[in-house]
């Protein structure tokens, strides 16, 4: 059984009068044909070429549960109002993932800008700092002759490290400097060291 209409017409809801496990309805979300099976699972057929799933705002209001169930099999569902996409529905975990990825992208952008500042300064002054990018424009460096330039640049140009030597995240720590002097180093007098 399949009925085509705009929104989620025919999906189980208060007005349909068909509820319970035996209800079997179908409808259309945007340009996708949808169907609710016996177990209440909301199915989508004939998805858009882009794979985007749509639900009208009125259908979302009327048939909230089936619309939300779409999120079990889709990253996002477009919410339309008069056929215009006005927003997207995403599942909570997907939303958190998107936020995290956006933050990562922001951090990466900041990181890249910081790195480029250092590399551009080195390139402008011709200092061959260790860099994959600069290696292409400053190959065959004789460190024995140029070590001082590198060391002075490294000591004076501010840098921000992004990762450990294997790419691992860096643990940043702060010291609480209230200890004062250490009167004696540890003594072995009271230890039996064999």
């Amino acid at each position: 059984m399949e009925k085509r209409s705009f929104g989620l017409a025919g999906a189980p809801g208060p007005k349909s009068g068909k509820t319970g496990a035996g209800a079997k309805t179908s409808g259309k979300i945007g340009r996708s044909t949808t169907k609710v099976n016996k177990s209440g699972q909301f199915l989508v057929r004939g998805a858009l070429g882009t794979g985007e799933k749509r639900v009208s705002s009125s259908a979302l209001r009327r048939d909230t549960r089936p619309a939300l169930d779409l999120l079990q099999s889709n990253d996002a569902v477009a919410v339309t109002h008069y056929n215009e996409v006005e927003g997207y529905l995403v599942a909570p975990d997907r939303y958190l993932s998107l936020i995290a990825r956006a933050q990562e992208a922001d951090e990466r952008e900041t990181e890249l800008a910081s790195t480029m500042t250092v590399l551009l300064a080195a390139a402008r002054t011709g200092v061959p700092v260790p860099s994959e990018m600069l290696e292409r424009v400053m190959p065959n460096i004789d460190v024995a002759k140029r070590w001082r330039e590198i060391a002075e640049f490294a000591a004076t140009f501010p840098i921000k490290l992004s990762a450990g030597e294997h790419g691992e995240p860096i643990t940043r720590a702060h010291l609480s400097h209230v200890a004062g002097p250490i009167d004696e180093s540890g003594s072995d007098d009271d230890l039996d060291l064999g």
Partner: protein, 217 residues
């Protein structure tokens, strides 16, 4: 060092001080009792460790030099010639055939895939000791190559250079990162040293300019 407690410059993760600021001028450090032996000082390598095992590289060549790795207090007031202290091997930078590796040892970082990453955390770059007859060339300490030597053998081998207090702060910070992978701001390490030294009436002089004896004791 580019990060200070009162600096208005942006904080930096830079590892080392400028090369000209590593070593106490020989005219000062070679005066009798002027500069005690301390953590970070550069010595000629004794021929063998405290157990008589030769200090040689994988090809049998004697170590070029050693950097003191034991706390200063183990070297100064109560050290007997038979006491042992920890040292790490120091190599000439020009022993490294890979120029890229040598560059990264100097900076302590490198750019990879658009990121600045720590490089060779088990090394500490050491600037040349100016005008020294045998060690006026860039070097690095290899923190994985440790040995215990007697204080007597170390003294007999002789000091090459006395590390400045500023450079010692940088060495402590790099050592912290090597041992625990904790990246501590230079300013924090220096502040801790200021607090420790300025409150220590028994600190063997000369004191750092930035850590005068506190008047509150």
């Amino acid at each position: 060092m580019t990060e200070g407690t009162t600096s208005t410059e942006p904080p930096s993760d830079a590892w080392y001080t400028e090369p000209g600021a590593y070593w106490v001028p020989a005219a000062e450090s070679e005066q009798a009792d002027a500069w005690p032996h301390r953590y970070g000082d550069l010595f000629h390598a004794p021929a063998s460790d405290a157990h008589g095992i030769p200090l040689t590289g994988t090809e049998g060549n004697p170590w070029e030099a050693v950097m003191v790795y034991s706390p200063s207090c183990e070297l100064i007031s109560k050290a007997k010639p038979t006491d042992t202290v920890e040292v790490v091997r120091v190599l000439r930078l020009d022993t490294q055939p890979d120029q890229r590796a040598a560059q990264a040892i100097i900076t302590g970082w490198q750019e990879r895939e658009g990121r600045l990453t720590v490089a060779f955390a088990h090394t500490i770059f050491l600037a040349p000791v100016p005008s020294h007859s045998t060690h006026d060339h860039p070097m690095f300490a290899h923190l994985k190559s440790t040995a215990r030597v007697t204080v007597g053998d170390l003294r007999a081998a002789g000091r090459i250079g006395a590390l400045t207090h500023d450079a010692r702060v940088a060495v402590i910070r790099r050592d912290l990162y090597y041992r625990y992978r904790w990246l501590v701001p230079m300013a924090d390490v220096k502040a801790a040293e200021i607090d420790r030294i300025s409150h220590d009436p028994h600190f063997t002089p000369p004191r750092p300019d930035w850590a005068p004896m506190s008047s509150d004791r």
